[in-house]
């Protein structure tokens, strides 16, 4: 176990994740990174927050019927993450692939704490998570992010707007207050988890160039990752 509690195994693969509030542009950036890595010939596995087929029905049932409390909200997302860790993340890291995650356990640390669960407890909960090679945090002023979201989808969902914790009865107002809390949690984590902070107000091209440069530095020199994996398992 590492200092952060994340499991620090030395797998031959590489793990990059993007974090930030909705509207920070992180999904666009990781999609561009994905395309680039594939074109460079790397074996890439993409894993998205809240997408486990084994857990999906329970989560959507809980959300639709408003059954979730701060604790169960946190646990069901951890269950989803565990399934993806056991099936999509660890095996691919062992195989020497590049794993890309749109949101990682830091999303839970930000959202669940904003929802009132203990910061210590939720960090313990995710102790089984593999340690990312680089965690990119897309920092964006709240107003900019809100503008982007409000333009895109005016229909705010119950939990997304944090309506379950009663910050405000008005969905839009509640959403803003909730997002502000999430931003505050992300900012607290930048040092704790050594985030690579991205200025998400810069152009898409600039951000992508910066990301690729950083990722490149963490790739094994000359050999491609899959061949690196072969050599490592031989020498082990």
């Amino acid at each position: 176990m590492s200092l952060n509690g994340l499991s620090d195994q030395n797998y031959p693969g590489r793990l990059f994740c993007v974090e930030g509030i909705d509207g920070s542009g992180k999904s666009t950036q990781i999609a561009l990174l994905h395309e680039w890595l594939k074109s460079e010939g790397y074996a890439v596995k993409f894993s998205e927050w809240n997408s486990s087929p084994l857990v999906k029905n329970t989560t959507s049932r809980g959300k639709k019927k408003h059954l979730l409390t701060p604790t169960t909200f946190s646990l069901i997302h951890a269950t989803d993450f565990a399934d993806r860790t056991e099936h999509e993340i660890i095996p691919y890291l062992k195989a020497g692939a590049v794993v890309l995650c749109d949101r990682y356990c830091y999303t839970a640390f930000a959202r669940d704490v904003a929802r009132g669960v203990s910061p210590r407890w939720v960090r313990q909960l995710y102790r089984f998570a593999a340690m990312p090679t680089v965690a990119f945090y897309f920092r964006v002023p709240l107003e900019v992010a809100l503008d982007r979201i409000v333009m895109g989808r005016p229909d705010l969902k119950f939990y997304e707007a944090g309506l379950d914790i009663g910050l405000s009865g008005d969905p839009m107002e509640s959403f803003k207050l909730f997002q502000a809390r999430i931003v505050a949690e992300y900012e607290k984590m930048t040092g704790e988890f050594n985030f690579t902070v991205m200025d998400a107000t810069r152009t898409i091209e600039d951000q992508q160039r910066q990301m690729r440069n950083i990722v490149k530095k963490h790739m094994p020199r000359r050999s491609r990752l899959h061949s690196a994996a072969k050599t490592e398992s031989k020498s082990a």
Binding site: S52, N57, L67, T79, D83, W121, L125
Partner: protein, 231 residues
């Protein structure tokens, strides 16, 4: 009246709920030790004394019960995923039944609690410290009554009961033996060792369950009486 206390850190919303009137009584012990018979008896006794009782336990919750059942039908469920699915399920029971019941002044009779979940998870390879942290959301019971029995007596009861050996209670997912009997014996012995190691950690009151049911019932009533008379 007392304050609700938790094993770990509770969410902010539960930290300040103030005084509660209810009591949480847990009956723990391995499968087949006679928990449900004893709990039914206790319920009748408590109700005859004028207390309102809620029975709860590791029955499947409204939230996750169906999901777990479906997930177990496939064969891809990883162990950490399963531990957390069970924890989600139990948290739904805690938040939906146990805490509201305690706040309303009920006596909650819990047929098993986090100790069973921890014992089973550790036997299946979970980090003992991690799984305890995960269940930190659980309220600390007013009393934990542990029905203790040896593995040979447990086997005898299981054979004599109509249920016999079943897949999960024999730990067949772990393949601890050539057949149900061998596996049952080894699995239950491991679970019992986990319970033993939790006795002082969680302050179990040990009740010798290798006796006639009415003698066990007398001890259980006596133990609960002492909790209720404090109120």
């Amino acid at each position: 009246m007392n304050r609700l206390r938790f094993y770990g850190d509770a969410p902010v919303s539960l930290e300040n709920i103030g005084e509660i009137r209810g009591k949480l009584i847990v009956v723990e012990g391995p499968d087949g030790v006679g928990r449900s018979t004893q709990i039914a008896e206790l319920r009748r006794w408590l109700e005859s004394r004028g207390s309102a009782v809620i029975e709860t336990g590791f029955t499947r919750s409204d939230l996750a019960g169906k999901g777990i059942k479906q997930a177990k039908q496939g064969h891809t469920l990883g162990s950490i995923t399963l531990f957390l699915y069970y924890a989600t399920d139990f948290a739904d029971i805690v938040d939906g039944h146990i805490i509201p019941g305690l706040r309303s002044g009920y006596i909650i009779l819990a047929d098993r609690y986090i100790y069973s979940a921890i014992a089973r998870a550790v036997v299946r390879g979970a980090d003992p410290q991690w799984i305890r942290e995960v269940y930190g959301f659980a309220p600390i019971p007013d009393k934990v009554l542990y029905l203790k029995i040896g593995v040979n007596e447990l086997i005898e009861r299981t054979i004599n009961s109509s249920k016999g050996f079943n897949y999960w209670e024999s730990g067949m997912d772990l393949r601890l033996g050539a057949d149900m009997f061998d596996s049952f014996k080894e699995y239950q012995a491991r679970v019992l060792r986990q319970f033993d190691s939790m006795k002082s950690e969680y302050g179990f009151q040990v009740i010798d369950a290798d006796r006639p049911a009415d003698e066990v019932a007398d001890d259980l009533r006596l133990a609960i009486d002492s909790v209720l008379s404090l109120a």
